[in-house]
Subunit: 558 residues, 2 copies
């Protein structure tokens, strides 16, 4: 039996006009700002008009620690959305936008896969509605204004060695990681060390995804720390007077993007912060708006549940006042086998013992999620090679944890394949079983917040922080930043900081190498490993074979 | 009497849905890719479908050398378009897009002014339809791929001292003019000197504006020279294998943007190359498409006629096979007075002698334009302070040159104010009086082309080129580039290279400081003065006061 590729399926999609998709969730044509015939932004006046409505149920899709076998978190998110619609529920999906630059290194990807995808796939891998370009522009304006301020006399007394605001570009360009700027004489300014990150790593991106509205956006932009003086006092973006113009540049980017699934169900695809130095979720405004329009909103968080769901729950939900009614934890038989020690090449053969041996990774995520007070359903994202015995082994394990696992075949059959999962998730959400609370309080000291996550989620013996880091955290507390949540930047492949340590390790420690303050986004980043904020291109970049064919179709991008 | 500001007028515009504007020129809704309700791109399939139609008449609007008094070239272009529609002609306007970055330095501008404007003004000064972002992305991809090629072994043997492809950003950021990249060790590549220009200076922009279609675009992108080897042989973008992916990034940007005038007449606003190191006209694809849709197409060229019209006629028309039926030369009584020696502060007082003294600048432009075989009409862009006697002095002077001058009051009255101008221009265009030819042949050697422009247009005694420049031009001829036209980069304020020398100077020489080859765009640039390809921000950038007000309107941008 042969299967169509994601791109073949996406190109074969029978897309509805975006106005018809909008109509399904009560958005009139005048409130949609179309971008072509299959994408639209939702107007702010419409969003304002629905604020008094009751919220729908929020469902988070997360996953076990990712393995090379693939888990299909987005695929499950989309499939569950379609499944809910198929069983007669009014539901929509909220996911992140893709970054442009990386697509020219490795091939770009679908939003979802198989028959559970969001379209238009090509646009979503290219410029889409221009949000990331707007973020790059806003970020670049602030960069230019900082050096311009220094050039014209540096009234704010910025220490040019301590400009912490880097530049960004939405391209994988390692040559820009570390540069010297303002060379060439008097008219070009004061030379200093600088560098570029990729746009998704910009604090502007994190802010856009956490801001409630444009007023909140501007306030947060103004709160960003861009440099320090010799006395170590911070200089804010507000001091540079960049916050107003940045907000103007971002005013359209703030509006959620409406697109559709292959089954013509609505989806918001909006925002895309890094999941390591930021919180890795789609925008708050998309999620909160969707909750006003539908009875069920299915969303996802980056990486595995130890990072993605933890940040979704401790950062996004805390800040936006959201509370999920259910969490769907995606696992696959293949990933269980890899956690059980099977090599990728051997995944084709049935191996029930390996599945059983890998299940503790899943079990720990279930426990962790329950500790937030949310009911957990495991979705076994079905692969056609999975055997009955393997699937049953996962189901039995999950039952032993006091949860249930449901096989979902959305990849192969779309929403129809996710009906069982959708039915059960809707039941759980409707039962209002959740009693959600973040696992630490705002008032807890920053170092203790880090310890709490490391111990309760990673099950480490401790977080290791040297005196310099502890002092830095105390300084921030003294400056009024102690109430912020913590954003962990750690490998997604393990509960530990060793990416090769699969399963459910214990006895490890988590060394915190560095802490950073994202004062505008509103979190303290604890860096626990190598974090790359400007990727490079590979030896043979995908770009070399990307082109338009004679039919005007894009080749090589997928 | 008090007048509304451009932004007040623009905000008061009664805009038609862009689909209704499209319908006026026979474009169905399905062939428009909307960006909001007031902007749309025209599909390539529609453009292909009209290729067999007869062309309308092309009318170029150009101006005398600009003075601080302001000439109103775009205003006249828009007013003439509206005037033609008012007298029952099917006409549209084609102009350039504005660059984002400079709006954060000095205040952004209207497209036109008074009651002769194109809207939506705010969008056109911000992200518009994302064309410039796409150009920045395509340019940045090539930049990243060049350094990536060097990083992975430099198979093409690029001399890293001779990478001529700079980076771009659409922001005024002087700190990026000259930088050192790839610092920080092995994983970041081989350190080298580099720098950023502003996006409009990218050769990609010039190419987008000269390409006939996407196939031509990709060929030209591949033809760009990005670096040289130690043996001085060129390395092309095609060698880096970037041309296909760049074309994919530019596929939507290639489509003309449809917007409207205040009087709901159609306008294409598309492309915006620098008018110094590039040719300064809107895209060929917009102009050639407009000619298939309307009986009259009014377009403009950057700077004064000595630079803008010369390039429009010698570069754009030559390459695109276009021939204007009439040229409108815009002058103002105020500018004549400044050319006649009056200071800006004294322009309010009637001064007929000064007007007469300034007219030779106008006279020389008339002569020059006629030498291309095109009929010339002078449009006196009326200011409310102009006196009858001053206006008459200009009319008399122009009559003495064998042309005619017509007062146009579009700024105050919109299309109604331009009826007289429109009527006469249509008569001239319909009379098929033009016998257009560029003033030099393709076969002329490059140095001689430069001499021809300097002598025949600038009326200089000679162009001064040292041996190094002469040898460079000969080398390019030997490499097969001798057939290219020449693109002059010179001050726009004077026929000479001295910006303070108004009027119609003689006896001067034009020193050529440098020559550059834009092998993809297809011209040789002769740099005759300081050319700034990356502007800086002023001491008090406009950005500091740009913000959204409580009504959600943008303040400070205009």
């Amino acid at each position: 039996m042969s299967y169509k590729s994601d791109i073949e399926i996406a190109r074969g999609a029978s897309k509805a006009l975006i106005q018809d998709i909008g109509a399904k969730i009560g958005i009139e044509s005048k409130d949609l700002l179309p971008y072509g015939h299959d994408k639209a932004k939702v107007s702010q006046s419409f969003i304002n008009s629905v604020q008094d409505r009751k919220n729908g149920k929020l469902i988070l899709v997360t996953a076990i620690n990712p393995t090379p076998a693939g888990e299909g978190k987005t695929t499950t998110t989309v499939g569950l959305g379609d499944g809910l619609n198929r069983i007669g529920k009014k539901a929509m999906v909220c996911i992140r936008e893709a970054s442009l630059g990386p697509n020219f290194g490795m091939k770009g990807g679908a939003a979802g896969g198989g028959y559970a995808q969001i379209v238009p796939m090509e646009d979503m891998n290219l410029h889409f509605t221009g949000d990331f370009h707007a973020i790059t522009s806003a970020h670049s304006l602030l960069s230019a204004m900082i050096d311009n301020h220094i050039y014209w006399g540096n009234e704010l007394d910025i220490d040019t060695r301590r400009v912490v605001w880097r530049r960004v570009v939405d391209m994988n360009d390692r040559a820009l990681r570390q540069i010297t700027t303002s060379l060439g004489g008097v008219s070009n300014g004061f030379p200093r060390e600088a560098g570029f990150d990729i746009t998704v790593a910009s604090e502007v991106m994190a802010i856009l995804c956490l801001a409630k509205d444009l007023t909140d956006l501007q306030k947060r932009l103004g709160d960003m720390i861009v440099a320090y003086r010799r006395d170590r006092s911070p200089v804010f973006a507000r001091d540079i007077k960049a916050d107003g113009a940045m907000t103007v540049l971002l005013k359209d980017a703030m509006q959620p993007n409406l697109v559709q699934t292959l089954e013509n169900n609505p989806a918001f695809v909006h925002g895309g912060p890094f999941a390591n130095i930021a919180h890795g979720c789609n925008s708050v405004i998309a999620t909160t708006t969707a909750l006003k329009l539908c009875d069920y909103v299915v969303t996802e968080a980056g990486f595995g549940a130890d990072l993605g769901a933890e940040k979704f729950l401790n950062i996004k939900c805390r800040k936006a006042g959201l509370a999920p009614s259910a969490v769907v934890l995606v696992a696959t038989v293949r990933a269980m086998k890899m956690n059980g020690g099977v090599a990728k090449a051997d995944l084709g053969a049935e191996n029930v013992d390996a599945v059983k041996a890998g299940c503790p990774n899943l079990g720990r995520h279930i426990e962790n999620l329950k500790s937030f007070g949310v009911p957990v359903v495991v979705a076994i994202n079905h692969f056609v090679t999975d055997t009955e015995a393997e699937v049953q082994a996962v189901k039995d394990f999950v039952a032993g944890q006091g949860s249930e696992a449901i096989v979902s075949q959305h990849w192969e059959f779309g929403g129809k394949g996710a009906e069982a999962l959708a039915t059960r998730v809707a039941e759980i959400a409707d039962a209002d079983m959740a009693n959600f609370a973040p696992i630490y309080a705002d008032e807890m000291p920053l170092a203790e917040k880090i310890q709490t996550i490391c111990k309760r989620i990673y099950r480490a013996d401790q977080a290791l922080m040297d005196q310099k880091i502890r002092n830095q955290l105390k300084d921030w507390e003294a400056q009024g930043y102690g109430h912020l949540p913590v954003c962990m930047a750690k490998t997604q492949y393990s509960f530990s900081t060793d990416p090769n340590l699969r399963g459910a390790p214990v006895g490890h420690s988590v060394p915190v190498r560095e802490v950073r303050l994202s004062a505008g986004a509103g979190f303290v980043v604890a860096v626990c490993g190598e974090i790359m904020t400007m990727p490079g291109l590979p030896r043979k970049p995908a770009a070399e074979t990307i082109m338009l064919n004679d039919a005007g179709e894009i080749e090589g991008l997928f």
